[in-house]
């Protein structure tokens, strides 16, 4: 958190140690070429078992994790996060997927991933996202924001009771702007708040998404097919 102020753009002096987990070698090499100089790739894995081993060995700051992975018990990315549970304090997971299916995305987020991006994301964007996750922030793609809004509803929380099950008015605003394609910086500008505040809101939403016992959330995700 030494250069939190530069979360949007830079932090060029620090290098983030990253493990890339994806079962397609072509995609891994493409991703390696795309990531910029802030990222230091210390390991690769192509299956659940391999990923668990490499992560335990390398203890990276960030794991770029494909949602769909062969091996293990068939749980894919979720299983990798669950298997690395003791490391969750120091290692953060950023889910990466071609699947836009809500059930997949919500499953890895609830397992403990700090964010979710689609594989079509550009090199600089994904580098930014990795740095942001390394700094302890959450990364929401427009689609994930859309899922959150769909799952939690678009009306703000009024009673303190269901604090975990609803989003506050401000969180809703942030989520809406992200869903509309705004970057954190643009959200901050639009709402006249600091980027740090935006990140706080996004992290709060992520926490709710992970902790909410809202039983509809899982049901909703399961019912929802491809988006």
């Amino acid at each position: 958190m030494n250069d939190a102020g530069a979360a949007g753009g830079g932090g060029s002096q620090r290098r983030v140690r990253v493990v890339v987990v994806d079962d397609h070698a072509i995609f891994r090499s493409g991703l390696k070429a795309d990531l910029d100089s802030r990222i230091d790739i210390v390991g690769e894995a192509g299956s659940v078992d391999e990923a668990l081993r490499v992560i335990a060995e390398q203890r990276p700051e960030v794991v770029l994790l494909d949602v769909h992975l062969p091996g293990g018990l068939g749980g894919g990315g979720r299983e990798v996060i669950a298997g690395s549970a003791p490391l969750l304090g120091s290692t953060r997971f950023l889910a990466l997927s071609v699947s836009d299916a809500a059930e997949d995305v919500v499953a890895v987020i609830r397992a403990g991933a700090r964010g979710y991006v689609t594989k079509t994301i550009s090199g600089p964007e994904i580098s930014d996202a990795v740095v942001r996750v390394a700094d302890g922030d959450a990364v929401f793609s427009p689609r994930l924001a859309g899922f959150v809004l769909d799952a939690f509803g678009t009306s703000p929380a009024e009673i303190a009771d269901d604090e975990l099950d609803r989003l506050s008015a401000r969180e809703l605003e942030v989520m809406r702007l992200i869903a509309r394609g705004y970057s954190y910086k643009e959200v901050a500008k639009e709402l006249f708040i600091s980027i740090k505040t935006v990140e706080t809101h996004v992290s709060a939403v992520l926490r709710k998404l992970q902790l909410s016992s809202r039983h509809e959330l899982t049901k909703w995700a399961a019912e929802r097919r491809l988006l």
């Binding site: 079509t120 427009p142 689609r143 924001a145 859309g146 809004l149 769909d150 678009t154 009306s155 809406r176 869903a179 509309r180 394609g181 705004y182 643009e186 639009e190 709402l191 006249f192 097919r225 491809l226 988006l227």
Partner: protein, 440 residues
């Protein structure tokens, strides 16, 4: 005499003396009832032939009601209704409950030939038997000892084969297999007849004791053979099953391969040829991705009548024509109404503008709630000044702002150096303005 084609079907009549046989027959043949009755009585004195004939018809000929019910119950094949239709008539099948006289005439040769095949065969067989009996009466020596076993074999085989045919037909008509037990009984009866016939023929004697012993022995042999062959048969059956499921998988695979060939491989070939043009490559890849997703998840975007699907379809179209990625995120959904079509068209115009002038990825966000629908179209282009757009350019002014106003909605455009965003809002009902998401 009337031709068979005009003849009404044979039913026992409701206008009756005893069982309605005579009047039914009269209606069928077109003869006066009186003559038939007299003839029947006279025939009864000839060794009781008339009585026999009457009783036979009584048992076998249905009443009009029964006939109609039976015709209605006969299942029609879903695969080939023309083949299994109980009454293949040129005027279409008669309604099941119609009185028999209302039934359209049935052409003898085309329709009835196969239905009566069994009866004709039976008749021929009976005539043959009668001929043999008469010949015996006249003193001709008929080798009954060979004829009876031969007849038994023929009959048994016929019964068994009929069963085969029947099950196949039943399989076509419906898979309930309700009368499978009957089928087994028939098969067993046919088999027993054939075995008995063969035995009698081979042993060449009518002696019961010998036949009985031979029967026992043969059953034992048959049992042994079954015991030996059963594992073989089961294995064969299982092999057949695996082979069949393998073929099903093969077909599936072939379908996937065909689809991949038609779409993905073609697109990859195109991409290789156009590798120089980044825009073309992106467009091709996106279009292929969309198509493949649609195929994999059966996500038919077209014509579902939902707003979100319409917006996605429009976005796909813009993506194809403009070569820029259009990302759609939707929250909530609603059934398309007339006013929603205006919203879709305005959104389409906004997407086109964004793709044309903005460049880069176009973000579309659709939110539908009880209060209405909102669409945000955002690009990351250089932006433009709405006031600076010439008055004669209809694009933004007419197709977006004007169109939304006409349908009771609003449109706002904010443009800056980091991009342009078009906000369209359509209240659910009535033109009452939402004040949630206006300009900040």
């Amino acid at each position: 005499m009337t031709s068979p084609a005009q003849r009404p079907p044979l039913f026992r009549s409701g206008d009756r003396m005893i069982a309605g046989v005579c009047s039914g027959l009269a209606a069928h043949l077109g003869w006066p009832v009186k003559y038939l009755r007299i003839g029947m009585v006279l025939a009864s004195f000839a060794g009781g032939a008339g009585l026999m004939f009457y009783a036979w018809l009584w048992v076998l000929v249905p009443t009009a009601d029964e006939g109609a019910r039976r015709a209605a119950r006969r299942p029609a094949s879903p695969i080939a209704p023309a083949v299994s239709s109980p009454l293949p008539t040129p005027n279409g099948p008669a309604p099941a409950g119609a009185p028999p006289s209302a039934r359209p005439a049935v052409p003898w040769f085309s329709g009835r030939r196969f239905q009566y095949g069994k009866e004709l065969l039976l008749g021929a067989g009976l005539i043959f038997v009668a001929g043999i009996l008469i010949a015996r009466q006249l003193g001709v020596d008929v080798p009954l000892g060979t004829l009876i076993p031969a007849a038994a074999i023929l009959g048994g085989a016929a019964i068994a084969w009929m069963q085969l045919d029947e099950t196949r037909r039943a399989g076509l008509v419906d898979k309930t297999k309700a009368d499978q037990a009957g089928g087994w009984v028939r098969l067993a009866a046919g088999l027993a007849l054939v075995v008995a016939g063969v035995l009698v023929m081979v042993s060449g004697s009518g002696s019961w004791e010998q036949t009985w012993l031979a029967l026992l022995a043969s059953v034992a042999v048959l049992g042994g053979v079954v015991l030996v062959l059963l594992p073989w048969g089961l294995k064969f059956w299982r092999d057949l099953e695996t082979e069949r499921s393998g073929r099903v998988r093969e077909t599936e695979r072939a379908e996937i391969a065909a689809h991949l060939h038609d779409s993905v491989l073609q697109t990859l070939a195109l991409i290789q040829r156009r590798a120089g043009s980044e825009q073309d490559v992106v467009r091709l890849a996106r279009a292929q991705e969309r198509e493949l997703r649609g195929w994999l998840y059966r996500d038919q975007a077209a014509d579902s009548g939902q707003l979100a699907d319409r917006i996605k379809a429009v976005a796909a179209e813009v993506e194809d024509t403009q070569g820029h990625v259009v990302d759609v995120v939707s929250v909530g959904d609603t059934v398309m109404g007339e006013r929603h079509e205006a919203l879709v068209q305005a959104a389409r115009e906004a997407m086109l503008n964004a793709a044309r002038h903005g460049g880069g990825t176009v973000s579309v966000y659709l939110e539908t709630s009880d209060t209405g629908s909102e669409i945000f179209v955002k690009d990351r282009g250089a932006g433009f000044d709405l006031e600076a757009v010439p008055k004669d350019r209809l694009g933004v002014r007419e197709s977006i702002i004007g169109r939304m106003k006409r349908h009771g909605g609003t449109a706002a455009i904010s443009s800056g150096p980091s991009g342009t965003e078009v906000r369209l809002s359509l209240p659910a009902a009535g033109p009452d303005e939402r004040n949630g998401e206006g300009r900040p």
